[in-house]
Symmetry: C2
Subunit: 112 residues, 2 copies
Amino acid sequence: MVEYSEQMDRAFHALADATRRAMVDRLSRGPASVSALAEPFDMSLSAIHQHVSVLEASGLVVTEKRGRVRECRLSREAVARVEGWLRQRRELWEDRFDALGEMLGETSGEDG
Amino acid sequence: MVEYSEQMDRAFHALADATRRAMVDRLSRGPASVSALAEPFDMSLSAIHQHVSVLEASGLVVTEKRGRVRECRLSREAVARVEGWLRQRRELWEDRFDALGEMLGETSGEDG
């Protein structure tokens, strides 16, 4: 449970940065090398590597060394896990709203 | 665009903390006062207020003063916005996988 919570901390933290979100966005269109990921940014390769490390530690991105190139790809499961956490809360909240609406509908003739 | 990006930074940052996620979780079951939100935590009221402020700044939680009580409620729209950002990326990635599968299916008789 604590481990799951730490993984969620890391995933949300990784996404709390515009550069890393742009990387996730790029990777949603297909795997890319670290240099390809670096291309749109006016940033040192060391800074890029640091961002990739944060994404990798969060589980959202998986990297694999192929010869001299480190290929990055998005983890569908990790993205789905974070998305699912939010969806569950939103749905609970909407269900409550629906229930409240029904209740108000039922009692609208009463004192209130 | 920058404003949108900063809002996303703040929303993901707000969710990168187990206490704040527990508060969002609680609020998904209905509005609550700050003291009710504080109840499960062994934490000073000042620390609780700080967490609520971070959630409020992110837009995920809206608070309203009612007499002496500050009531907090979840913003369905803000949660849906963050969830939607993740869903779009996951769906793009899945579409790519599907397209790749079709392509591999078409070329499976060929070399390689």
